[in-house]
């Protein structure tokens, strides 16, 4: 029948459910002008807001973007339920401090969002996470990238379940404050960080730890992880100086070692140059493989597999392991086979072997020299 408006007659919960699936939150607000009946419905629709301006470093364009975001926030403050709020800028400069403070205030004090992410791709100046935001009862997920954390008092993120912080200098006291203030934390990710040499996790709820790219400033120090209750550990990227042992992670069930070789910048002039850190990396890898022998599920990256071959050539025998699941994330080459065979021999309880051939990059074979 032409002329009948069936959409507006749908029961409100159904309409709200449909609108909540709209990919762009702005469209949700636009429904307020469809007709008088639609004036206030948008406020009941749970939305996720994502403001990203990460392609350009132009200050004027960034300021324009921030102004337009702030205009939008003026009406979003009337929305009953903002599930997620994310802001991502290319660069942080002191120019932007008031706006960033405003966004954090909006997310944590006005809108009481469940998920909040604030990310800078790079920073010309330093932004310190504001003190008022260290206390919040609604946040369940928090992502901070390239912000400094310096809580002067205690931290209280009582509902936080997942935390990801990266690109910052940490201290053991800051991490301790944060962990004490997150009694319900289940997942912690630290990436591109430095400044700590001991990470102690005593919460029984925190079961998953992800560490990516740990920058060690001192040759004779390393990052020791003491986490008796964690069940999943992921070490990604450059983590050569991260140490665990069977004693320090006794409850570990799954270990994902997606490690890369440490970057070393060869002098193009010097053909005979050898990476001086290589021996230490092989030795660290050997220790790491020992320390995860008790883990049921193991994943290895192509760099780990390369190391297996080197270590095998050096006469290393992998310790016997009761692991049940092994995933190799690399296109295997003939040179890998001796190392893998010896590793498999030590995995007599293995039930599942997965080989993910996705990584087709030809490997540098400098170690052959």
């Amino acid at each position: 029948m032409a002329g009948v408006d069936r959409l507006s007659d749908l029961p409100e919960p159904i309409l709200i459910h449909i609108l909540s699936m709209l990919p762009h939150a702005k469209q949700v607000v636009q429904t307020c002008i469809l007709s008088k009946q639609w004036r206030f419905l948008w406020k009941s629709v749970p939305v996720s807001l994502d403001f990203e301006f990460s392609d350009s470093d132009n200050v004027k364009d960034t300021l324009d973007f921030m102004a337009s975001t702030n205009r939008e926030l003026n009406y979003w403050r009337y929305c009953d339920k903002i599930r997620k709020f994310r802001v991502c800028l290319f660069n942080y400069r002191n120019h932007y401090v008031k706006d960033v403070d405003l966004w954090i205030h909006f997310a944590t004090k006005l809108a009481n969002v469940e998920s909040f992410a604030i990310e800078f791709q790079c920073v010309d100046d330093t932004y310190e996470f504001p003190q008022f935001a260290f206390r919040n009862a609604s946040l369940r997920n928090l992502v901070l990238r390239h912000l400094e954390l310096n809580p002067s008092g205690s931290v209280n993120w009582s509902s936080l379940v997942s935390l990801s912080i990266g690109h910052l200098n940490l201290t053991e006291s800051v991490i301790e404050k944060v962990l004490s203030g997150c009694p319900n934390l289940e997942r912690l990710k630290l990436h591109h960080f430095w400044g700590i040499y001991r990470l102690e996790i005593s919460s029984t709820k925190l079961r998953k730890l992800i560490i990516k790219d740990y920058y060690n400033l001192y040759d004779d120090l390393w990052l020791e992880i003491l986490a008796p209750f964690i069940q999943t550990l992921e070490l990604l990227g450059q983590c050569s100086d991260v140490r665990v042992s069977r004693k320090t992670v006794p409850s570990l069930v799954t270990a994902v070692l997606h490690l890369d070789r440490l970057n070393f910048y060869f002098d193009e002039e010097d053909d005979d140059e050898v990476d001086p850190t290589l021996e230490k990396q092989y030795s660290n890898m050997k220790e790491l493989l020992h320390s995860v022998a008790h883990v049921e599920n193991l994943q290895l990256s192509s760099w780990c597999i390369e190391c297996l071959s080197i270590l095998e050539l050096k006469g290393w025998q992998p310790p016997p392991s009761s692991r049940k699941f092994l995933k190799l994330n690399a296109a295997l080459e003939q040179l890998d086979f001796p190392g893998i065979c010896s590793f498999l021999q030590s995995s007599s309880s293995l039930k599942t072997l997965v080989i993910d051939w996705n990584d087709h990059k030809p490997r540098e074979n400098n170690w052959l020299m």
């Binding site: 408006d5 069936r6 749908l10 699936m21 469209q27 307020c32 002008i33 469809l34 007709s35 008088k36």
Partner: protein
């Protein structure tokens, strides 16, 4: 399988029909209604009209088929919804919400969603015959 339990249902417009219990229980509403229900010949009344129920059963039948592949199901769904007029789609949305079948409910709502996504307010009004009774002052809020 001759021992499939059967259920007799009666639609809002008085039509009676028989359905395998297992299939009918895709609707939580029907399932809950029969939980305290002694098996006799009284048909269970449901607040859906026969035309819409026929469509629901067509969907349930296809999605209950043994050995059907994901691809075949996707193709079926595409065709199934394509053939619906807007008014039939809305009947379905309301009926499935009442019947409480989450899978079909989401699928039907997504169809409505697809008609709204990316459209300007005027385009939406045109598609759904929404009467624009907003005056400039009433937009101030």
């Amino acid at each position: 399988m001759s021992s499939e339990k059967l259920l007799t249902l009666k639609t809002r417009d008085g039509e009676e029909f028989v359905l395998e219990e297992a299939m009918a229980f895709r609707s939580l509403t029907i399932k809950n209604a029969t939980s305290n229900y002694t098996i006799n010949n009284t048909p269970l009344p449901i607040n859906v009209e026969i035309n819409t129920m026929i469509k629901v059963i067509e969907y349930w039948k296809k999605h209950s088929e043994r050995g059907i592949s994901e691809d075949e199901l996707m193709n079926f769904d595409k065709k199934f919804f394509k053939l619906l007029h807007n008014s039939e789609l809305f009947d379905l949305v309301v009926a499935v919400d009442y019947l409480a079948d989450k899978g079909l409910s989401n699928a039907a709502c997504e169809q409505v969603l697809d008609k709204i996504t990316g459209k300007t307010p005027q385009e939406i009004r045109d598609i759904f015959n929404i009467n624009n009774d907003c005056t400039p002052t009433s937009l101030g809020g």
